[in-house]
Amino acid sequence: MIPELGYISLTIALGLSILLCIYPLWGAYTNNLRLMRAAPALALGQCVFVFLSYAALVYASLTDDFTLVYVASNSSSSLPWYYKITSTWGGHEGAMLLWVVMQAGWTALVSISSKSLPWPLRARVLGVLGFLGVGFMVYTLLMSSPFESLLPYYPVEGHDLNPLLQDPGMIIHPPLLYMGYVGLSVTFSFAIAALLTGKLDNTWAKWSRPWTIAAWLFLTLGIALGSWWAYSELGWGGWWFWDPVENASLMPWLIATALLHSLAVTEKRGVFKSWTVLLAIAGFSFSLLGTFIVRSGVLVSVHAFTTDPGRGMFILGFLAIVVGGSLALYAMRASKVNSAGRYRLFSREVALWCNNILLCVATLIVMLGTLLPLVHKELGMGSISIGEPFFNEMFSYLLVPFAFILGIAPLLRWKQNKFNALQSKLALVAIISIVITGAWLYSSYDFVAPITFMAVLLAVWVFVSTLFDIVEKTTKQTSITLGLKQLTNSYWAMVSGHIGFACVVMSVALTSAYSVERDVRMHPGEQVQLNGYEYHFDGIKEIIGANYTGHAAVVSVHSEGEKVAELHAEKRRYNVGMQFMTEAAIDASLARDLYVALGEQLNDGAWALRIYHKPYIRWMWLGGLIMAFAGLLILLDKRYRGTSSAEQRQSGKIKTVPSAEVQL
């Protein structure tokens, strides 16, 4: 009964979003205020029914309703209640419904917090969001309904949730990523609405910016969390695989990063307008492309979502409509957009332009590496795979100019700069960076590869130049406290974003260069030395969990005679699916991770163990968090707060779009 209600309310929501797509857009076209005014109510109504529908699925999962194909394949009665909830997005159909939920949620949020927008624009933004909602709802209802029934013959027990997904990190990873993907649709809608209205100005950039930043924030967190999850769950210490699904999330992130820099230029200086619009369109298009890659199964990946050509074709069709339509509109309207400002070669505008170009090139490279195997296969040239070294190599090339310019850009002024004025500063920063990097690396390691030195140097360069800029800005004032006070939130956001990036680069460089990894064969009682740590294999004990049984290897780690940690590396066997899972044991610290994973049992009582020493790996995810914090800082900025505090409370954690009056 409840699942049927879920299906029906999703159908009602589809009806409402079809209206949301037609009424406001038609109203805006014919300048009919009454039609336009229908938009917010429709947006809210659609949101309510989508949430009801999702609640029905959660209810079915919690009550072990195995008459549903979805629940039977993704849950089981012995699953703890919280995993029963997360199982609603553990499979394809449920994940799509979650996507629809997010889409409806963002749409409602936009409708609530866009009160200060002029009606034609507001109606168009909501109409475009409604159109996107229609696409995803039709897809969910027709191609991948989680409410499909198995009646009259249904199993008494479910198939269980994939054990890999039974992890706290996995509870929030997909929702975060979807928030990001779908959040980019808001930016997209703003861009399309602005193109339709024909008014692309600083105000447009100002409205789009907080939404873009919110989406980027979620994407950043989602990607960092996914990488951390892969590291701790997949059992072999990898943190990024250049897997198609990871690439699918990286591409929108890269574009969104370019977009938020370009939006800053458009907002502050009124230039790059048509470029910014193009990026806004590209950002969401890459989200859709990512969905296509993940959902269609054209590319096989670790994430192994089911392949279904019909689903792929639908998303490809939708992608073609969205991208084709928006690019056609762009082609018609963008020529009318004038960028007024002038700037010289040596200016902050050009530095940010370089940032954008490099990020776009990075995106294209990821796209090339991800889609080339597909094209190759479809052309009948056989299956190929593109190895990780390709991506690593390309990203190393790109990092050099990117980080170099990143270090200079904050020191540059808008419009133009005399090179001589900066020359001595840059030389000073460069010398300090080289000294720090050299002292650090050569005192800690016997061997320093040129590429490692380069990467760490670039990270330090970004770090030093950022600090240098803060010091310079604060000491200009009469007192340091006064100087610090005068720095804005968005300045601190830039600092935090750049420092976070430096942390990630540093961590990737050092982990890649100095990780020590050993697969060993050990009997209980034996020990092995690795990087100054002694690993004692104390023995194997049996473990029994809620829905699994297994073994845990007890490994105590000693350093200089003292016990540092006792690690329990588990090998679990899940009762329902009979699947095996490696649960690595990690002793984490800022300077290094000690990582032990249990392999299979070999003959004569020996076990295969995987022992890793990973220096500075925590900084990768810490850097991600620091970057994400930058987004939060901007969202908290006064400039992006709404007109009334009541409105702000309503809109929850995402700050409202700035009003037209409070233009500072």
Partner: protein, 160 residues
């Protein structure tokens, strides 16, 4: 040329030069990192209409089913050898390290490595998918002879 045109000219030149370098670098990096996929039959009898065989020393990927009873472990190291097959001849895989959780005899796996003899591969990576229903699509194609065969065996229609 007036200064503005000159500036534009320079910008265009810079963009062309940048693009050129980028494309060259990408192609160069791609060249060394494209790994062709073979099934055991293709490896032994040649791939495609030209019956192209890989040369010894080539990096490649191979996917097939682990032949039951073929897994042999070394007594005092992590050295392991096993045979892979699809519809025809078998190919030997040599691997040093820990096999993935879902590695089983009779299961589909993908190995990545170097061809060290006409039908022996030294693998540096062995992948079994996280999904117990998984069969490499290329293998599914080879075994079933049908393109886009949905690799799901269980009776319940569902997803991972």
């Amino acid at each position: 040329m007036n200064p503005r045109r000159k500036k534009r000219m320079m910008t265009v030149l810079a963009v062309v030069f940048g693009l050129g370098t980028a494309v060259a670098l990408v192609l160069y990096a791609l060249e060394g990192n494209i790994n062709l996929f073979y099934t055991p039959t293709e490896l032994v009898e040649g791939k495609g209409p030209e019956k192209q065989k890989p040369f010894v020393g080539q990096k490649l990927r191979i996917g097939g089913m682990v032949v039951p009873g073929s897994v042999q472990r070394d007594q005092d190291s992590l050295h392991v050898e096993f045979k892979l097959m699809d519809t025809g001849p078998t190919v030997k895989i040599i691997y040093q390290g820990i096999l993935p959780d879902l590695f089983r005899e009779g299961q589909g796996i993908v190995a990545q490595g170097k061809l060290i003899a006409p039908n022996t591969i030294e693998a540096f990576e062995v992948l079994a998918k996280h999904d117990e229903k998984y069969m490499p699509p290329e293998v599914a194609e080879a075994v079933k002879g049908i393109k886009h065969e949905k690799p799901v065996y269980n009776t319940v229609k569902g997803d991972s």
